[in-house]
Symmetry: C3
Subunit: 359 residues, 3 copies
Amino acid sequence: MTASVRPTSGVGGESDHVLTAAAIAEAVAGELVGNPETAITAIAPLDRATASDLSFLAAPKYARQLESTNAGVVLIAPELATAPGDVRARVIVARPHEALLGLLPRLYRAPAREAGVSPSAIIGRGARLGSAVRIGPFAVIGDRAVLGDGVTIDAHVTVGPGVEIGADSHLYPTATIYSGAMIGKRVVIHAGARIASDGFGYVFRDGAHLKLPHVGRCIIEDDVEIGANSTIDRGSIDDTVVGAGTKIDNLVHVAHNVRIGRLCLIMAQVGIAGSVHVEDGCTLAGQVGVSGHHTVGAGATLAAQAGVFGDIPAGEVWSGWPARPHKDQLRAQSALFKLSKLMRRIERMLERSEQETGP
Amino acid sequence: MTASVRPTSGVGGESDHVLTAAAIAEAVAGELVGNPETAITAIAPLDRATASDLSFLAAPKYARQLESTNAGVVLIAPELATAPGDVRARVIVARPHEALLGLLPRLYRAPAREAGVSPSAIIGRGARLGSAVRIGPFAVIGDRAVLGDGVTIDAHVTVGPGVEIGADSHLYPTATIYSGAMIGKRVVIHAGARIASDGFGYVFRDGAHLKLPHVGRCIIEDDVEIGANSTIDRGSIDDTVVGAGTKIDNLVHVAHNVRIGRLCLIMAQVGIAGSVHVEDGCTLAGQVGVSGHHTVGAGATLAAQAGVFGDIPAGEVWSGWPARPHKDQLRAQSALFKLSKLMRRIERMLERSEQETGP
Amino acid sequence: MTASVRPTSGVGGESDHVLTAAAIAEAVAGELVGNPETAITAIAPLDRATASDLSFLAAPKYARQLESTNAGVVLIAPELATAPGDVRARVIVARPHEALLGLLPRLYRAPAREAGVSPSAIIGRGARLGSAVRIGPFAVIGDRAVLGDGVTIDAHVTVGPGVEIGADSHLYPTATIYSGAMIGKRVVIHAGARIASDGFGYVFRDGAHLKLPHVGRCIIEDDVEIGANSTIDRGSIDDTVVGAGTKIDNLVHVAHNVRIGRLCLIMAQVGIAGSVHVEDGCTLAGQVGVSGHHTVGAGATLAAQAGVFGDIPAGEVWSGWPARPHKDQLRAQSALFKLSKLMRRIERMLERSEQETGP
């Protein structure tokens, strides 16, 4: 194992990009301390960087690593600017992590993908393909499907009949888009995600669970990203909607008729039951569950593993099972542990008090 | 986006079905109020319906939408029959949602699928295919597998050697059936579900986790539906069994040697550990976890996110972590929040009381 | 359905192996009681075994089944050696389950797989294949990928450009390995697992969640097993690492930059957030969640559904939400239920006490 991420291996592309400390300082509008000619070709954490790596120091707990690092150039937060360490060039910048965001594309190129349709792909009757689409091996595009310009379909993807996918969207290997889905522009759908699968709806009659046909749509708006192996069901009669700019992590479940607003962050393994409405700008941390038909108000945050059984007011932070305002929940959990230690004393006091006066 | 679900886009099939208000009233045995000639061709919720849509009003909270809807015909529950609103035809019927169940197939036809085996599919030696099977592109059917009449195998499905699949079952894209599975009739397995994968069984010996070979079967009985990306492991020595008519949602995990009875509902992201027995007619709500070797008694209900560490009595409702009878759990959670507010007073009282008498 | 698992159907291979009671006793170093010539050809639980099956009795709760079993040979724990039951041969052995571990390979052969590359597989430019590799139908191997000797790639697997896979590893159907992954030797990756997918990292700027490029690697060390539909993200800048000999169950989520040590057991539906460090030999039971940047100390155990929001000391057992030492958590939960029953008495006592003295 090499100590840093080589551009050539990191994203599969080839690169001979080199950045000097001077160029880095200019690009991030930072203050350069040290040799402006120091050149780097990759990025690595302090403890694994080599002389040709750029690294970064953003938090005091990692300051000790600066003393022993081999990194050529280090982005450093202003409050740590003078931390001890013998590096050839420091670039002092307010938010080192965000500064990296601008530098990454200059070092790492996305792998070149040639437009074109793999000869092994199957394209349905009446399907319409935009310009510069890329369709990978063994992909199956259904009848009458419509792919916008620049769409990338990876290997083993299935796109159902009549599905529409907006320009510049990217479907990773084995993603499945059932009929009834409408996918916006610049949408990213990772491997194994299932879009517009049937919802879980049955009516119990004559000793059997009769399946409710699902004829609603599953609408994924522009700039949404959906993580690996997540599942978004289509609506039963109404639609399921994921709003523009919302990001969904891996293994998330979104049930039928759910409406998620714009710019939400839905973290891994969250489950959202049927007909829930998550308004704009909410954050649902990992493994949160929201039971059916409730509303999570705009800008609300649900802490990891929260179990929601009612509406959540806009802008609030809730947690726990059943979910409560986070401050109340913390106070209650803290009280519980105090009380469990006081139990014997409380029981004795009750006895004394009730002996004196009757219960 | 159109305001309603067109039959042509809804399920990928073509349709020119038209239903009149009179025909609807007759079909659902409802009472017609308004113009019997009003014709509809699709179904939509009140707030998005057009003049050619059928809609429905089942709950008072949606009654206001009746005033502004454009729907041509509305199914209405008896207690809301006279709610204000200017629609051309009302059909008064006891359970509007269930009434829809009968009307959907008259408006939405499942997409026509032609029987036949895709030329790109690979059929193993000695595999037996029933009549009218449909096998999609790039499917792989293992040696000696047996597919009953009318089975549908979608694109990229793998069926392991020796697997048996009963008549009229449907496997959606990329589902994987390992060897050791036996699938009943009319079973629906959604995209990405994995059936009969190895269970999680190891013995720690000589500094390593040695894998226990899994040679038990994974038996999926008739009329089971399994959601997208769910995983059902095969048994280690005993079998894993999912009973007839049970419905399993997305991203559910069923471990080795689990036995699930008939007609259960297992909702999204539930996890059932090894050798658990879920008896007939149970409901496990979203994200429930049941730890190994316990029994969930017939007809029991587990509320969302319940964590089960013991046997659950038949017919009871349990919730919380660790799971307790739901009423006790609610009372305890309510007491906790009261107590957290009384903490200071309790502590002061303890001090006073113990000063007087000693602790 | 037959009452036992036939070798021929159990794992898809063919077998005419027969073991006698004498051979079994010798193989497990057990004590034989009964007819040494009794022959068996398969393994089954007591309640479903036939005369040609080997079975086992390890726990008193199953002792009654010995009386009615038809099994030919039964492995029995010493303390149950004289349990009543009319079986032709008993083999008394300390840990019957572990003894089975050695016998299984003598009865069940893994299905023979012929080395070779399916003519329908696609092999990228510059890819290097070791000797005796098996590549199944419709697999896609990226440019410059390197597969070690004896690697098995099943149907519909995608291996990204530049990925390295060590000798004797096995990727089950539809597994997806993105670029940036390095897979060790003897690694088993089950159906639908996604390795090295992008992590969930965004910076909110200019009214949008900007995606952080992910250029770190995803390193899966030797002898790791990863369950069906689990997802292991690649690192953002640092790497994601799963240590040698660690076993991961189904539907587990491992986020970017996580480091899992050696010989851990990570059970189904566990979620591990970004930059968490799980040290060697930990056990995370089902549905556990660990929030970002914390450390789970070596040998720690987290009980099912635990929600971790801080560091866990090495060797300890924690549980609940938020996670606490398991003994404290049990005491607290028990106190809570006692208190909820004492609530009225506590409130009355508070009133009395404060009437006397003021609050």
